[in-house]
Symmetry: C2
Amino acid sequence: MKTITIITLMMISATLFPQKKDELASHIINMEKAALERWNKGDVYGYLEIYADDVVYFDPMLKKRMDGLDKLTAYYKPLQGLINVSGYEMIDPLVQAVDNMAILTFNLRSFQDDKEFYWNCTEAYRKEKDGKWKIIQSHWSIPAPKKEE
Amino acid sequence: MKTITIITLMMISATLFPQKKDELASHIINMEKAALERWNKGDVYGYLEIYADDVVYFDPMLKKRMDGLDKLTAYYKPLQGLINVSGYEMIDPLVQAVDNMAILTFNLRSFQDDKEFYWNCTEAYRKEKDGKWKIIQSHWSIPAPKKEE
């Protein structure tokens, strides 16, 4: 009985506070996918809930870096309920990590209104004092067009 | 005499192995500026020398993320001697750091052939085993045009 309790506690602990490199990579990728899937359904709070207060942000619709969760919340809020992405493929997600910080990079292919869109993405996740990981830097940009191959 | 030696050693140590947050931020920003200034004069090795072997890279001329120093060296080498940027302004550089990783973000304004170019940039620096900092992730992209204000 004791053994089962310990194993259960270890499993919960591994989910909440991933330690090993592979575990951490899966945890970070799963966090990103969960936020992205909420975004695709029009729920901007998937990301807003995992941005740190000091998050900084780039996207190609902005003229410069946007600083802080307050500004990013004001930027995202008007989009709530308006996004409808029917599907996505996260291409080659990679996590480069040290103890308390992890850089996730990937290319994204997403489907909207019978069109395909491609993105470059870099997310920097930091382990906060409570052991949870939050995004402190998010950079979205547009890669060169596929057709120029 | 001993005191002077100790102070000198501390100063050298602070330059090579910055500890405090402000010192680290200055160190990272200075590394980036040094590489950028060599780039602007046509020397691509300023960056290549501070990229880690496992560096990953995005820019708007590429269709997807480029992985590894070997590929990035092959990508940069043909540009050696061909770049001539006459001036630049690094706008609002910010360093978000933990012990062994630091995220540098900034906007860049650069001047070439009487034209202005604007960039978004995210560099992830990691402290290597020898105590030196290297770039493990570099993301360059184009912000929204200034004229649309």
